[in-house]
Symmetry: C2
Subunit: 406 residues, 2 copies
Amino acid sequence: MPSISLKGTNMPASPIRKLVPYADGAKKRGTKVYHLNIGQPDLETPKAFWDKLAHMDMKVLAYCPSDGIGTYKEKFSQYYNKLGIKVDPSNFIITNGGSEALLFTMMSCINEGDEVIIPEPMYANYIGFATSSNVTVKPIPCSIENGFALPAISEFEKLINTKTKAILICNPNNPTGYLYSREELETLRGLALKYDLYLFVDEVYREFVYGDSEHFSALNLEGLDNHVVVIDSISKRFSACGARIGALITRNKDVLAAAMKFAQARLSPPSLGQIAGEGLFDLGQDYYDSIKTEYKYRRDLMVSLLNQIPGVKCPTPGGAFYAVAQLPVDDADAFCQWMLESFSYQGATVMMAPASGFYSTKGSGKNEVRIAYVLNGDDLTKAMECLGEGLKEYKGLAISKEKILV
Amino acid sequence: MPSISLKGTNMPASPIRKLVPYADGAKKRGTKVYHLNIGQPDLETPKAFWDKLAHMDMKVLAYCPSDGIGTYKEKFSQYYNKLGIKVDPSNFIITNGGSEALLFTMMSCINEGDEVIIPEPMYANYIGFATSSNVTVKPIPCSIENGFALPAISEFEKLINTKTKAILICNPNNPTGYLYSREELETLRGLALKYDLYLFVDEVYREFVYGDSEHFSALNLEGLDNHVVVIDSISKRFSACGARIGALITRNKDVLAAAMKFAQARLSPPSLGQIAGEGLFDLGQDYYDSIKTEYKYRRDLMVSLLNQIPGVKCPTPGGAFYAVAQLPVDDADAFCQWMLESFSYQGATVMMAPASGFYSTKGSGKNEVRIAYVLNGDDLTKAMECLGEGLKEYKGLAISKEKILV
C-alpha cells in the first residue's frame, strides 16, 4: 500500500471543524448544540442575492475568466473606491473564497522554506495554507493582557532574518477580534519598507468594526503598492459563506501575473456566486449599519456574560465577530470535547473552537477558546449560561477525581 | 520591491487560455472567433439544474461540510453504483472542480521531489498542479501514429525508480481523446501492484465514449482499493463548468483523511452548485445517449474535415470531446496566434490550443494543436473551412518570406 505524503501527515486538522463528530453525536442524542465554533453568520443573505439567483437568464453555466467575471470585478472595485481605496478591476483576482486567495498569495510570493511572520493566536487555516505552500510560519506572540494588540516593533525585528519574506495579519483579527489601529499599520509599513517584505492583510472583516474606531486598509498605506496584498471575501460581509467567492487584491503587477497562472490552472472561480453576488455591492450604508448594530449588541452582551463566569477572562474585541477567552481549565481541547460528549444543560450544550489550533507555537493557548458570536442575543445568553454551568460541573468533576486519586 | 517566488515564476501559463488577449483583440476588430481552444461544452445545462436554482428555499447561504453536502454525496455515489462501481458517500470528497481534487490528491500522496508518470501529451494543468505541489512530472511519450495509445509496459519500467510514486492518466484522454481499454488498465494495475504505486485516474469524460467501446473505471480494478484515486466533476458531463463541483473518490482511508485536512483548510466547496446539482444524477440514460449522439456526430464530422485539409493529420479519438491534430506548420504556437492576430475568412477565425503546452518535454508537439469539438455541426464545418483557408494563407506567407530571404 503506497504511503501518504509528509505534507498530508503534517497538515493540521481544523480546530474549528475537528470536533464536528462529537457535535453530531450530541445532536443524535437529542441535545441542542449552540454553534460558537465557526464563523458562519446567522444573519440572512441579502434578498438581492436570492432574487438574482431566482432569475438567472442562462442556458449554459460556463466557465468564467480565470480572474473572475469582468462586471463583478468592476462592482467589487467600485465598492473599494467608495471606501476611498484607489484600485481598479485589474487589481483583482477573484478566487474560491478568501482561502484560495491566501494560498495563491503564499505560492506566488514566498519560496519553500522561507518565512512569514504572523501574530498569534492566528487564523488556524493560515497554518494550513503555509503547510500546503511549504512556507514556514514564524509566530509572534500577542497577549490577552492587552487584548492581543500588535507586539512591539523590537519583537518583530528579533524574528526578521534573510528568510523572512512577509508579514501576515488579519484586520480586524480572527480569532481575537482585535482591530489594528492606523498607527500599528504604519509600524508594519515601516518594517515592510526597511526589510523589503510583503505585507499580506486579510481584510474580510473590514466592515465589522464597532464603536468609534475606523478600519484602515493596508491598500491606503503610502509607498507600499508593491508590498501589499489584501485578501477579501463576500462570505462574512454578506452572509454568503457558501458562495465561495473571495479575492486577491494588489497593485503589484508581478504578483498579479504569477497568481493569474495559479488561477488559470484551476480554470475559474464559481460563476453562480459572482453572478448572484454582483448586486451585493449596491447595498447602501444602512445595510452595513444594521449588521454593525447587531454584532455590536452581541459582542457587548457576550463579553459581559463571559466575564461574569468565575475564572473566565475575555477582552472586548474591536471588530470581527470573534473573541478569544481564557477559561479556568487546564486543557480547553479536552473541555470542549467533554462539553459535546458528556454535558448538557436544559437539553443543550455549546460548541467552541479550542484556541490551541490557532497557535503555531506548541503548548500555547491551552486554556483558551475562540468564540464566534454568530447567534442572536437570546441564544447567546442561553449559550453563555450553558457554558457557565458546564465549567462548574467540569471543575466539580476535576475535584472529585483529585479526591479519588488522593 | 519584494520578488515573486520561484514557484510563481515556474508555474506554466495555461496553453488553453494564454491566447485569450489575441482572441479579445480579434473580437474587438469585429472578427467572429470559433472557440475550439477550451473544453467548454455548448450544450445546455439540464433544466433540472436551473429549476432547482430558481426555487432555493434558503435564508442563509452557509458553508457546507468540508467534504461536501451529505445528500449530494449520496446522489453522486448512487450514480456510481448504477455504473456498477461499488462506492458509498464516505469514499467521496467534494471539491472546487476536478482541479482541486487533483491538487489535493497530489498534495496528499506525493512528497516534494517525488515523481508521477503521465503519458504525454497530457492535460496541461496537470503540470500546473504538479508545480503547485512540488511534484516532478515524468512524461511518457505517446504517438499520434497509433492514436496516442498507452505506451508499452517496458517504457513505463524504464522510468520507474525509487522516487516514482504514482501513474496519472485521464480516461478518456484530454487532450487526445484516446479511450484506454480494459486491457491497458489491467497493465497499469500490474505496474501499480508490482511497484506499489498510486494510480490516479481522471474520469471526468467517462460518459463521452463513442462507438461500441465501453469505459472501464479504475475503481473496478481488482485489489487496487488502496492504490486508485479517481478524479471526477460535473463540469463536462452536465455542461456545468461554472458550478465548480468536482470530487476525489477513493477507498484508501489514509488518503481520504489527509485530503480531508486540505479540504478543511479551505472550509467548503461551493454550496450552490451542489444544491442545484443534486437533481442531475437523476437524469436517465436518454440524457447520456443524446449527448453521446451529438458528440459522436461532431467527432466524425470534424475528424473527416480535418483530414481533408492538405498536410493535416488527426486520428479518430474514442472518447472525450478533444482531438490532437498535426498541422503542416513548424510552430503551432505562432500559427494559432497568427490566426487570431492577422487572419480572418468570411469575417471569422479559429482559436485552438497549441499542443506544446500539453507536453512536459520541451520541444515536443510543436506542430500539433488540441481542438475541442464543442460547437454545433454548422459552426464546426465553418471553423474547419476557416482553418483550411488559414493554413493555405500561412503557407503562402512562409513561401513569400523564403523568396524574400533568397
